[in-house]
Symmetry: C2
Subunit: 467 residues, 2 copies
């Protein structure tokens, strides 16, 4: 961190931050703007600004940003829209280097709001100050424990995944992203109304960012230079996967997008789609897929080929999963004779097909964990590029099966460069297993179709990259 000379680095690694609108009242969301930085141990200087307080969370509070003695890299403005212009004037006077404006109430609210936003933009441009927003809650940099957020965060997830959001799509999910999703995140930027900083800047920055290994981007419109955007995409995708969730893709959706951020949708969805495809971006069609693939790309190595080994609790599930695999461009691996030999130990008293492998039927005749025997058996099979496993511990083994024992063959697969995705159903089993498995970079999905879809996306990206 800190080695990126892009202008946006200031927003992710500020040495000093003024929180304008800081609050001592835990009932308000603004409370968490300061408390998160203090509790998480953000290493920069934090200056709460509040005309009615002298101290917040043990930090000296200032009546105005101009009262702060030291330099301010970043001013986070969280005050109502109607007084934001005045605050921006203070920030200009203070010579802050960057601004993020959280409040909505600007271009998305009509002509009046647009006028105020234009005036703010003019003022900042004249003074060489860059800005995120308005109508944006960001950024987050987990490497630096820097978070602009409205909910308490006790610990930020660490990893290689960075998000770009166009609008508030992620806000209701922030809690979940940070605390429940086991997502290894490094940076997040919400662009809001994109008055100044656009998706082009964000992509350009994350493309250069060494901490970022996967970029997941939500777009409603392209506000910046579309040709530059496509050029950066094309240069970036061979190095890091870029997932794109483009909403506003239907006429009704585009109309809704235009009214809530006042963005002009300049291209038909077909044009966007073709441009994304040509630039090697991975377009996803829904939110489940967006987060499912983000997790898979961050956790897993890319497969060397498209040959998948599948195991499930029943033949019917195996058939369904095989369908999913073929629809994703994967082929059933022809498992080697060595693997057949290892697996024959767990067969029922008759010969059964080994791919897809029915651990349900095998499990009826064995007291040990046949699922793990399967995973162990395919680790060294040269015909297997990736693996999909329906997991769960048979009730009679639950007590005696330890996390480490359970996880070893999976981590062995990953160490061999073979991605593995798992799925499970029983909610009681899944909660604990999800946590353990995802802590070891084994993505856990609620259904076979989603587990296999993730493998398919890894393979298509690997294939494109290899060409």
């Amino acid at each position: 961190m800190g080695q990126n000379s892009h202008f946006l680095d200031l927003f992710f690694n500020p040495r000093s931050v003024a929180i304008i609108g800081a609050s001592r009242n835990k009932e308000t969301v603004n409370y968490y703007l300061v408390s998160n930085l203090v509790n998480l141990g953000f290493p920069g200087k934090v200056y709460p600004v509040n005309p009615n307080a002298t101290e917040i969370m043990g930090l000296k509070a200032y009546p105005k940003v101009t009262s702060i003695e030291g330099d301010v890299d970043l001013a986070v403005i969280s005050v109502p829209a109607r007084i934001t212009l005045d605050i921006v004037r203070d920030c200009v006077a203070k010579k802050v280097k960057g601004i993020t404006i959280i409040a909505g109430g600007f271009s998305e609210t009509g002509t009046e709001g647009q006028k105020v936003q234009d005036e703010i933009h003019r003022l900042l441009r004249e003074n060489g100050i860059r800005a995120i927003g308005p109508n944006a809650l960001s950024p987050i940099n987990s490497a630096n424990n820097f978070v602009v957020g409205f909910r308490p965060n006790s610990k930020l997830p660490q990893g290689g995944l960075s998000f770009i959001f166009q609008s508030g799509l992620y806000q209701p999910r922030l809690e979940w992203l940070l605390n429940h999703f086991h997502l290894n995140m490094t940076k997040l930027i919400d662009l809001g109304n994109k008055m100044d900083i656009t998706e082009v800047d964000a992509l350009e920055y994350l493309a250069q960012d060494e901490d970022t290994t996967v970029i997941a981007m939500h777009l409603e419109s392209v506000a910046g230079d579309a040709q530059k955007f496509i050029r950066i995409l094309r240069e970036t995708t061979p190095k890091k996967p870029v997932l794109v969730l483009k909403s506003g893709r239907t006429t009704a959706g585009a109309k809704a997008a235009s009214s809530h951020t006042a963005a002009i949708i300049r291209s038909s969805d077909a044009v966007v789609d073709a441009a994304l495809k040509q630039s090697g971006a991975i377009r996803v069609s829904g939110l489940d897929e967006f987060f499912d693939l983000a997790k898979a790309f961050e956790y897993l190595p890319l497969p060397r080929g498209n040959r998948v080994a599948i195991t499930s609790y029943s033949g019917g599930e195996g058939v369904f999963t095989t369908d999913c695999a073929q629809l994703q461009g994967l082929e059933l691996a022809e498992l080697g004779t060595e693997t057949h030999k290892k697996l024959s130990e767990v067969f029922p008293p008759w010969e059964i097909p080994i791919n897809p492998f029915d651990t349900g039927v095998a499990g009826q005749f064995h007291t040990f964990d046949v699922v793990n025997r399967f995973v162990e058996a395919v680790v060294d099979d040269p015909n297997v590029d990736c693996v999909a496993v329906q997991v769960g511990i048979p009730p009679q083994l639950a007590a005696s099966t330890t996390g480490h024992q359970l996880l070893k063959p999976y981590t062995d697969l990953i160490a061999r460069g073979k991605p593995v995705t798992v799925w499970g159903m029983d909610p009681d089993i899944s909660a604990g297993m999800t946590k353990d498995m995802e802590a070891h970079r084994i993505p856990f999905y609620p259904s076979a179709e989603r587990a296999v879809r993730a493998l398919g996306a890894l393979w298509r990206y690997a294939n494109l990259k290899g060409r």
Copy 2:
């Protein structure tokens, strides 16, 4: 129940059941075959058959089925494949009326298994005894507390949904279906190898069954008379929706299907697809969709039109949800002036679009629950046919919001014949809310795309039916 004269009614409403292979050992799955019937209060006679026991769960046990004094309507055979033929001979001698064979190890295991299965089939046919299976765990009839299952069940869900499964696809999900899914189920039949009873019989029976309002069917192959199957489908779909999940639809999947149940796949997927479409069945492409739609059709009234009102926590989510709606054939409702007036009370200090409605922005300016104000406002709007709502309780209201208060506008919508689906993210909120809402027939989904997909399916079925 009991008024259906179809031969399969015997399997769902037997007056007397012999459990052959009954066990006193809680460590074995066979234990639950008897314990569930005793604990749930199945009203018929239960005869445990076990040569090494004189009593099981307080019931007299018999060494052989022929030792039972009374008549036996249904023999549930849960013994290893190798001794099943002998047991079937006993059942023939006892003149049982129906048989369900649970064990696998027959046609799906190769030539030897096929021969034994053929011999069993010949014997039963000669004696006029019908049979489910082999390789099948069923049936279940929740109206009667009759369940053939391998896991403990403390209470069966009641409702109008019936399932037909082709193979073990559902077994790993049984626990979840019965105990976690809030699925209002009446009957379930797993067909296994379909030696005798096929999907045609099952569909015919459920089509006539008064307790069944929705049929959800998983198919790998059509083993019975395909023309009759399509004819029954065509006659049934105007009366009750029939969801079909057809797996084995890719070449790899079909091959896997053929090896695990030895079924011959006689039709290409395109042919199956066309036939299903013409007969008015609702084909689903995955397991998530299968269960999502099953729930929606069982819970909800059909919409009178395709005009949807949407509310979400952010403008971005609203745009994404609007895309989903249009892709599903729904239109954004033009909300009436009365609704606008009601909603203007919850606006932020500026005018905002009312469909999709951004409760996130409105909520920043109000201390009450703006989500529910929206739902209340559209209940009486004549321009609204159905509603999609992103739910969750703002932290500051969580303690003061009671279930009843929260749910009333949703149940009002349903009472007005307007289906409503909801989605939510925060895992903590969702767990409790899912339970409350689904107990009131409001289906809760993990994402906007799934909530809206369910509404789209309801609308398309209503539209087809109305023609």
